[in-house]
Symmetry: C2
Subunit: 196 residues, 2 copies
């Protein structure tokens, strides 16, 4: 007899020791962030706290940036759920424009809250493809709902770009622009793009 037809079983299942370590690592990482802040999460400290070797940490996350990306992902999942299925105006139920504006503000708050983590995660593939594009995809969908015409993928990217942490921090920290002015500015931007 040949093997039990691995037809659609693409990824080989995770070994039990690997699963145990992954769990221990994530828990230790969250704990270290709370205790010592993002900067205090060193790969050595993480390995020690999780009771594994350093090599294991790198096998799991690839790099420090990868680790931070994983933590970020963990945190963002909750927010994504609120957007997809939470109460209006962020979740479904409110009219599209209201939803879009609520979305923008919510995203700003989130990006500022996670600023350290985002920075530590860097850009490179760390903020997993899926997580990053979720934001753009959602805006694109809402633009469609609003009946906007044109290259919606690009317009979505353009609307999301000024919500990025790197841009926000420039405005908030350096230029000292108050949050409500930023919110108002983005609202105006949306109105112009959506046509009205």
């Amino acid at each position: 007899m040949s093997k039990p037809l691995p037809l659609l079983t693409s990824p080989p299942p995770e070994r039990r020791d690997a699963a145990r370590n992954r769990e221990a690592l994530m828990e230790a990482a969250v704990c270290l962030v709370e205790l010592h802040g993002v900067r205090g999460v060193t790969m050595d400290a993480l390995a020690a706290r999780a009771g594994v070797g350093k090599g294991t940490v790198f096998r799991r996350f690839g790099s420090r940036e990868g680790l931070m990306g994983a933590l970020l992902n963990h945190s963002e999942t909750e927010w994504q759920a609120a957007v997809m299925g939470g109460p209006p105006p962020l979740g479904p139920g409110a009219p599209p424009l209201e939803r879009l504006l609520a979305f923008g503000e919510s995203r700003m708050v989130l990006n500022i809250k996670h600023a350290e983590l985002i920075e530590a995660a860097g850009n490179p593939g760390a903020r997993s493809f899926a997580a990053l594009s979720f934001t753009t995809m959602h805006v694109r969908y809402l633009l469609g709902q609003l009946g906007v015409e044109g290259d919606l993928a690009y317009l979505a990217t353009a609307l999301v770009a000024p919500l990025e942490m790197i841009v926000l921090r420039e405005q908030v920290d350096r230029e000292q622009i108050p949050m409500d002015r930023i919110t108002a500015g983005w609202t105006d931007l949306v109105r112009r793009v959506a046509g009205g």
Copy 2:
């Protein structure tokens, strides 16, 4: 007699040995980038090549990011000159909308060209305040010329945001969007924001 009135002489002049070393360091840095790429520019290698101690490198640039920021600044100065005083449509002379569109495209090309350097420079203050805000200031000015109403500072930031390297790389490298579609998208964005 008291001192010769240091009234307006704000920064104490640079010592000669310091000037010599600064020059040697910049030259060595440019050379190393050409030879081994941005990643090959280590602080040790730079110090060795310039014939100075490591402490001197850090005294001069503060950090690796600071060094990269200095290199970037060096490269961008030329471009700023082209924007402020070069031939149209980038430089003065062309109608504002044409100038703005030329500006956007030029900025994209530049950001992609300098991608490695920009990334290595990080965000934190390294891309000197002045250099960073030049772009936004210029867009703001052109929006004014176009007779756009509203919070021009915010609108300028919003138009510049999707030209940032971090956003462009996502589009070009990961989503494989061709450059001309990106250019077209930005052009459309500008038209919507400027009201048309």
